[in-house]
Symmetry: C2
Subunit: 212 residues, 2 copies
Amino acid sequence: MEKNALLAERNRGFFRAKKLLVLNVVSSPGSGKTTFIRETAARLGASLRVGVIVGDLATDNDAARLRTAGIPVVQITTGTVCHLDADMVSKAAAQLDLDQLDVLVIENVGNLVCPADYDLGEDLRVVLLSVTEGEDKPLKYPPMFHSANVAVITKTDMTAAAGFNRDLAFINLQRVSHHARIFELSAKTGEGMKAWLDFLVQQRTVDGHGPR
Amino acid sequence: MEKNALLAERNRGFFRAKKLLVLNVVSSPGSGKTTFIRETAARLGASLRVGVIVGDLATDNDAARLRTAGIPVVQITTGTVCHLDADMVSKAAAQLDLDQLDVLVIENVGNLVCPADYDLGEDLRVVLLSVTEGEDKPLKYPPMFHSANVAVITKTDMTAAAGFNRDLAFINLQRVSHHARIFELSAKTGEGMKAWLDFLVQQRTVDGHGPR
């Protein structure tokens, strides 16, 4: 763990030198990480070029979905390990042409517990909460939600079908992640994507020539 | 881990002596475990009396939901631990009046990775897959799906809204969990519950006076 903290800081320095904005995207399985990342990359288009590192226990299905969309992607297959670590990310990043990228998105293993403890050297930890999971998840998985800089409520097109209580979700998020920026969107319909993309562009250029 | 395997067998023996059918219910966060368990207990009613052990990192929300429904329940709060283990279950079970129960349901921490490695002494491991999570989850979390005796597709009332491909889900389940019994249901509407309840009754009475 201590070794991971050191390697994560090395990653952070390396990524800053490369002027990359780095996101660590975490969530339950099935919260819509891959669709969210694919639509983020597609809509940023030429203004900010996005590369992706994808972590999964098994299969390269998610990587294939992103690659089909023309996004540079590297797959990490973890076997039985329930999270990515800084060393895995460092090795995977070396397989991307980072000088051609502005944003590096790390899609973590679908898990609301273990990835909370592993800094990868990201600028922003982005936790997704889909409307179908229920409003109580921030309270039930506090380490993950507390450690996030950004919380994104996803699949808002299913809000009614899921009976999702938006006000309660905000109350719960603010209790556990009171410091986090909150976005609400449907990557499927595009609703709410613009505010999220504007935020990324602003984060990327805070000091005029790189992230933060 | 080896110690857990021994304690799990001790649990198994203890539960058999008590003629309990013991289920270990695992899934992603937000797949509907608590509603599924609550409706199972309510619909079994007087024919099979159900008690529940609930595991969560934090909060006793799920336990409170079950208690409100009149179900005997014990909460285990794991802090940052991503799974229950046999020792936690043994201590929690001691707080229930097991002689008054026929079925003991253990609601594990919401996580498709870590709980796969921890036998709790259950008779049946039951993995839930909600239609909103997508059809690919069995392929992406093979240890959990492979280790399950029963797979339950939940939230079928949202099949259309989620664009869930049932045929593909069955193909994926059968690749990873070819030995598992599969059920499809909505605990919310009741659709599909009867087949699941009939199965439980049959499992409970295989030899006429206890589980299997």
